[in-house]
Symmetry: C2
Subunit: 389 residues, 2 copies
C-alpha cells in the first residue's frame, strides 16, 4: 500500500473544534445515512448498484459500500484499481477507455491476482484496437484469468463511446474472438445529464439514453449476442435509469458526500434525500474593512463546478465565498444581518465538486457525533489520491 | 521526509516517448534557461530575489534556486515550510498570515531548528493578535531563536494586509516589544496585477503599489522605525517593482515553468524571455466522429486560470482542448488543416496555471534533451504536495 504521512490536522479521539485547518472532514453519521438511503433505494427497486470510487478513492469506503450491498465499485483509471485492490477490494470495473499497453498489462496482472480470490476486473472499450490490445495484455500477464468487457456507447455525453445502434455488433464480435475476454454488456453513462437543473430536462435526457441503449441491445441481440447488463447512471439521474427497466446497474458516486453543485438540482420525489457529508474546515486568518479572508483556496477544494458554499449559517447571516487564489478565500457578508466573522473563527465549506476535492487530500478526517460537538473517530486514507494514470 | 511511492509513469534514463500518461514533465533545459534569465535579471538590476516555492513545492528545486543566487524562498503555509526545511532549505519566508497556535508552534520549532544551522524563518502579519500569538509561540517553542516579521499591506490585491499608511506604525510597535521578533520590513504583493493583460495596465497598477509602499515606509520612518526591506512582486510585474527603487526584493514563482495564462500577457521589453518548461503529457484514448478524447482532465491539471493549451502544433493544425471532466479532455480540430489525432497518439498540454497543477502530483518527471528525443534525467519529489495547513 502507498505510504502516507500522518495527517497534521487531527488525531483519533480529538474534539472536532480542535481540528486544524484546512482539513477535509467527513460527517460519518451523514455519510452512513446516505449509504443506507442508497442501499434501500436499490433494494426497493431490485437494481444492482456499483458506486463510483472516483469520488472517494478509498478502499475502506469501497468495502463499506460493498457491505451495504454494492455489487463492486467503478473507477476511471488502472492506478485507482491498483490502490483499491491493494486495500482489499475484489471487484473493480474501470468504466473508461485504456489504450496504453503498460496500463493494460497492469490491469491483466490485477485480473490474475484477483481470480484465485474470487474477484474480477472489468473494462470499457469503444474501439477494436482497445479490444486487441487488452487481449494481448491478458495473454501476456493474465495467467489464464478472464476480464469482463463492456462496450461503451455515447448516450449524450459527447465524450468516449461508439454511436448507439449496430456499430456495437462488430466490436462484440471482436470481443467474442478472445477466450480471456467476456462480453459483459453496455456502458451507457450520460454525464452531462447529471447537472441539468430541472427534473424535466434530466428526465428527457435519460429517456434518450434509454432509447439509445435499448436500440443498441436490440442490434446486438439481432446479431446473436446476449447483452448481460446495461450499466450507467449517476446521482443526478439514477431515478430515471432505474425506472426504465433497461438499465440493470447504477454507478452513482456523489450520493455519498453530496456537493454544492448537486444541491442546486431540482429534486425528484423518487430521489432519496441525500445530505451533505463532506466539508472543508477553514479558519479566518485576516479581517479587513469590508471582508474577511480564510485559509482555504483552490489548493484546498476544486472549483470546476463552482466555488464552495459557507455551511451552517442562517440565510440572514450568510457569507459569500469569493475566490482568493490558491491558498485564500475572501468572505463577504451577504445576508441582511451578516457580519464579518472574527479573526480565528472556524467555518465549514461545502465543496462545489467533491471528487476532485478529495483528490487534493491524503486523508479524510471522519467525525462522529456532528460537526459541533463530535470527535474524530476515523482517519480514512485516500488510497488512490493522485492516481491519474 | 514524507514517504512517497515511486512514480508509475517513468524511470530514470527512459526515453521521453515512453513516459506513460498523464505525467507532469519538466523540460529541464528550459527550466535551467528560465532560472539563468532570472538570476541575470536580478544581478543586472542589483535586486534580491526570493522565488515563491508555492509553485514547485520541491526542496530540490528550492536549493537549485538558491545556488543560482536566490536569497531564500517564499511559501504560503507552515506545512510547506516544514517540507522544504526537511529537504535542506535553510531560509524560508511564509509570506502569509498564520493565526492558529498549533501552526505557530510548528513555525517556532522550525526557527529553533534552523538557528544553529545559520538559517531562519520569516512570517507576514497584519494584526496585533497575530503578533501576540507568534510571540507566545516563540516563547514556548523557539528555544531563543528569532523570527523575521514582515507587515503585510494591501497594495491593491484586496485580500490580506493593512491599509497602506500609518496603520502599520502600531503594528511595528507591537513587534518591537518582543525580543524574539525582528521587524524585517513590508510585504507588498499585488497579486491581481500579475494577470492584467496590457503592459500599461500592469505598469499603472504597480505604480499605485509603489506609492502605497513608499507612503507606509515614510509613516514608519516618521515614527522612528527603520524599514529594512520592501518585498513583493510576481512574474507578471517584476520589471516595474524592480524599476521603482522602492522594492528591495522580488517574489516571482511562475517564471520557472511559465503557464498558459502568463503567456497571454503582453510582454514588456525589459522582461526576460521566460519559456514554457512544464507540460502534462497525455494520450488519445478515444476517437469519435468529430472529436478525440485524451486521458488528462482536471484531476491532471488545474483549470482556475483557464483550460490547458495543446503545445507544439503549428497554428494551421491546432487542436482546441475542451473540458471533459475529472479524467478526460475533449480535443477539437481548430486550425484550417487540423485533423483529429490518431488513437494512442501522445500530446503535450501547457497547464493554465502551474502552481495548483504541480500540487496534484507527487513527482515531476525531469527530461533532458528536449521533449522529442530527450530522456528522463531526474525524478523530482513534490515534497510539499497537499501541504495546505
Amino acid at each position: 500500500m502507498k505510504p502516507l504521512p500522518e495527517p497534521l490536522q487531527a488525531c483519533l479521539g480529538q474534539r472536532v473544534d480542535l481540528i486544524d485547518t484546512p482539513a477535509l472532514v467527513v460527517d460519518l453519521d451523514a455519510m452512513d445515512r446516505n449509504l443506507q438511503r442508497m442501499a434501500e433505494f436499490a433494494r426497493k427497486h431490485q437494481i444492482r448498484w456499483r458506486p463510483h470510487a472516483k469520488l472517494h478513492k478509498s478502499a475502506e469506503i469501497a468495502l463499506l459500500q460493498q457491505q451495504a450491498g454494492a455489487s463492486g465499485v467503478c473507477v476511471q483509471k488502472v492506478s485507482e484499481a491498483e490502490a483499491l485492490v491493494a486495500g482489499g477490494v475484489l471487484d473493480v470495473y474501470i468504466s473508461n477507455q485504456v489504450i496504453a499497453l503498460p496500463k493494460l498489462l497492469r490491469l491483466a496482472r490485477l485480473a490474475a491476482q484477483l481470480a484465485p480470490r474470487g474477484g474480477r476486473m472489468a473494462l470499457a472499450v469503444d474501439h477494436a484496437e482497445g479490444v486487441q490490445r487488452l487481449a494481448e495484455a491478458m495473454m501476456v500477464a493474465g495467467q489464464g484469468a478472464t476480464v469482463d468487457v463492456f462496450i461503451e456507447i455515447d448516450v449524450g455525453q459527447g465524450r468516449c463511446g461508439l454511436p448507439p445502434g449496430p456499430a456495437a455488433v462488430a466490436l462484440a464480435e471482436d470481443i467474442a474472438r478472445h477466450p480471456m475476454l467476456r462480453f459483459a454488456g453496455l456502458q451507457a453513462y450520460h454525464g452531462r445529464a447529471q447537472h441539468l437543473r430541472s427534473a424535466a430536462e434530466r428526465r428527457e435526457a435519460i429517456a434518450g439514453a434509454v432509447r439509445a441503449a435499448a436500440r443498441t441491445r436490440a442490434a446486438l441481440e439481432g446479431a446473436g449476442h446476449t447483452v448481460p447488463l446495461i450499466t450507467g447512471a449517476g446521482t443526478g439521474t439514477m431515478v430515471h435509469e432505474t425506472a426504465s427497466g433497461v438499465y440493470g446497474e447504477l454507478q452513482p458516486g456523489s450520493f455519498l458526500f453530496m456537493d454544492a453543485d448537486y444541491a442546486r438540482n431540482e429534486r425528484e420525489a423518487a430521489q432519496p434525500a441525500f445530505e451533505h457529508a463532506l466539508f472543508v474546515k477553514t479558519q479566518v486568518i485576516s479581517v479587513q474593512g469590508g471582508h474577511a479572508v480564510c485559509d482555504a483556496g483552490h489548493k484546498s477544494h476544486a472549483i470546476d463546478s463552482g466555488l464552495p458554499v459557507v455551511a451552517f449559517l442562517p440565510p440572514e447571516r450568510a457569507l459569500r465565498y469569493a475566490n482568493g487564489g490558491d491558498e485564500h478565500g475572501v468572505l463577504h457578508p451577504e445576508g441582511p444581518e451578516a457580519r464579518l466573522p472574527a479573526l480565528g473563527r472556524m467555518l465549514w465549506l461545502i465543496p462545489g465538486h467533491c471528487d476532485p476535492t478529495v483528490n487534493l487530500y491524503d486523508h479524510l478526517i471522519g467525525v462522529r457525533g456532528g460537526l459541533t460537538r463530535g470527535v474524530v473517530e476515523r482517519i480514512i486514507r485516500v488510497d488512490a489520491r493522485g492516481a491519474v494514470g
